[in-house]
Symmetry: C5
Amino acid sequence: MILAKVIGTVWATQKDDGLVGTKLQIVRPVELDYKEKTNFFVAVDAVGAGVGEIVLICQGSSARQTELTENKAIDATIMAIVDKLDVIE
Amino acid sequence: MILAKVIGTVWATQKDDGLVGTKLQIVRPVELDYKEKTNFFVAVDAVGAGVGEIVLICQGSSARQTELTENKAIDATIMAIVDKLDVIE
Amino acid sequence: MILAKVIGTVWATQKDDGLVGTKLQIVRPVELDYKEKTNFFVAVDAVGAGVGEIVLICQGSSARQTELTENKAIDATIMAIVDKLDVIE
Amino acid sequence: MILAKVIGTVWATQKDDGLVGTKLQIVRPVELDYKEKTNFFVAVDAVGAGVGEIVLICQGSSARQTELTENKAIDATIMAIVDKLDVIE
Amino acid sequence: MILAKVIGTVWATQKDDGLVGTKLQIVRPVELDYKEKTNFFVAVDAVGAGVGEIVLICQGSSARQTELTENKAIDATIMAIVDKLDVIE
């Protein structure tokens, strides 16, 4: 899974039936200090994360392993909101 | 999922049976301002997207989770046409 | 899917049983003008593509979604021979 | 699979039900001499690895092939603790 | 699939049950002239490949499509030993 920050939302009227009712959030991967990287992608929100929150994102077929995303054309899911990180280096 | 722009079409007579009747679109990933990146790949269109449109693309096994692409040798599917993005940074 | 050019063949006597009878082709991804990139990988041919031809390649679990490659240890399949590209940029 | 070092833990109260009871470890890929690379990601621990240990990580759908991670929204699993490497170059 | 050279072995006592009895080989991807690249990863050997041999490696869920690796937390499998390459460029 990767750490990312929710930075926005995609609006799409014309979409595959499986996506109706899902929230398509734009996310940017972040560093351990939550500094945003420059790339971004789109993930479906399974935990009610808002813009600005730091989240965990699951990708690939595993992104379909939640009640909301099962059997849907979704390859990235926000599956946790991060409270804090404990890092020892 | 990633944002991309449809820039063309692939024509292929000799192909796996599962691909008959699918539209093979050439897409370029785009930035948040829809500026095209330099790479490209091919995706099957599941929502009737035309050349020039900004779309959402699902990759990997999740690309097979639409009625059109189920059980086919397809690893990228256009599953939404983007209306607009709301981005807060 | 990605565009690639078939540039050769891998010969392997000692291999997993599922691969017996498959043709292991060496392919190089290409640009939209068919210019070869520098990387390469190996794909199983499901459509009778010869060396020098431009093909479409499906990767990951979707590579197993042809009659020839089903349930086999194959992660890349040539599933179409490209006739031409229509690109509008 | 890749070699990595466990460098910390993610705390997340609000998460998908499947993740309850799993330990979300922050890991950095390492070189053959265990020197850490600069990137990192998050993996679920299936073998009781502690911070500082060198581990093997399985990614993608294969990350769900342990008793602990089966059918869960998990795309990376720590599935072994490395004792030593034998390398001949 | 990718071409790689077996350069060593990982020893791990504490591991997921599915890995017991598997051989965890360290491999480096190679060029068409078998020159080693700088990266490496770990793959399970399904064909009895020894250190120094050039092999074909299957990744992702397809890595589980051999008798030895079925249903295991394995994302890369050595599924052929390369005899020779025929390349026309």
